[in-house]
């Protein structure tokens, strides 16, 4: 995927003054992702984003070339994080078991979801309605295929139960992980480490009390 050249940075001097909205690229992206998640990407216009930022509809184009550019940046943010977690697990030292690497991926994915929750939420709702979305789906499928391979490896080494098909395990395990974007709020009552531990406990050890 060819990355379009980043738009020129917005000088923060005059714009940072109260009453004269000045927005760096990061702020514009954050507010756009919030809006996309709240009212849907298709349901959000550049006019809506301009209003949200207190800009005129023409001024918004000084900050962002297009709506799809913002979508692409957000999806890449989520996918870069998840891809890195999977690549680290795949390339781990040969001595590390597939079982431990799978647990690493679960913990690492929870960290990415917690750190980049709005971007991951957006990614999980992508349906393939544009080239940007199709490319994101392609990258998601790459990640999913690596996860299924890792589950299969863990089955092969005898550490994971063999009576559920690996692709189903992968879908359901990461379905549980991904579901946290729906309710997890940073700074809320549940800590990321507690969350990660709870998911690993349920998925690997099970809820039944086998005392």
């Amino acid at each position: 995927m060819t990355e379009p050249a980043p738009p020129p940075a917005v000088p923060s001097g005059a714009g940072a003054r109260r009453g004269r909205p000045g927005h760096d690229q990061e702020t514009v992206l954050r507010r756009a992702v919030e809006l996309f998640n709240r009212q849907g990407y298709e349901g959000t216009s550049m006019g809506d984003l301009a209003r949200e930022l207190g800009l005129t509809k023409s001024a918004i184009y000084h900050h962002v070339p297009s709506k799809s550019h913002l979508l692409e940046q957000a999806l890449d943010e989520a996918l870069d994080g998840l891809t890195a977690v999977v690549e680290t697990a795949v390339e781990a030292a040969p001595g590390r078991s597939a079982y431990d690497r799978l647990r690493d991926v679960v913990a690492g994915s929870v960290e990415v979801l917690v750190a980049h929750q709005p971007a991951v939420t957006l990614l999980l709702r992508v349906r393939g309605n544009s080239d940007v979305e199709l490319e994101a789906l392609r990258r998601r499928r790459w990640v999913d295929a690596r996860l299924t391979d890792l589950v299969q490896e863990a089955v092969d080494e005898g550490s994971l139960r063999a009576d559920v098909p690996p692709d189903l395990v992968s879908r359901l395990l990461f379905g549980m992980v991904n579901s946290l974007v729906e309710w997890y709020r940073p700074g809320g009552p549940v800590d990321a480490a507690v969350l990660s531990g709870a998911i690993a406990t349920i998925a690997f050890d099970g809820l039944a009390n086998h005392r």
Copy 2:
């Protein structure tokens, strides 16, 4: 919630002829839900729905009073199914353990998700942007609260592990269940019973091979 009176049924006679689209309420609802899921509820206009059904923008109002009426019908369909599953489990014969009733709810929820997948998909994306959505969120919270109570009961009877907070167990367990709407397709390679069994195996017994 006061149910609005159903709109008058569309006679299927003349409309059923080839080239003259005739649509019963059920067909209109199915196509609307598909559209809402594909391009977002906010991103779908009554004009889009009319086009999808081969009707003029004015003719569509002979079939449905409003877009929000369609949303309400779809959300009620999903919520009626899930509520019935939870009520059955709560009111089960006193001899049945909370653990078994929780497993019943998991299996019953999978059945509802498989049978009403588009409606449940729509429900899971509701953010509270209107009175209809707020009412759906209120009903979801009622279901979630009963699920958490049931998890707590199973912990109290000693059949469920006590080291993960019940509300977190409930969120993650049904997060895994709900995740299937993202990829499950009726008639695909995975059968609903296999799916239900896989979820119960992972969640209650765990993936680790404790031979």
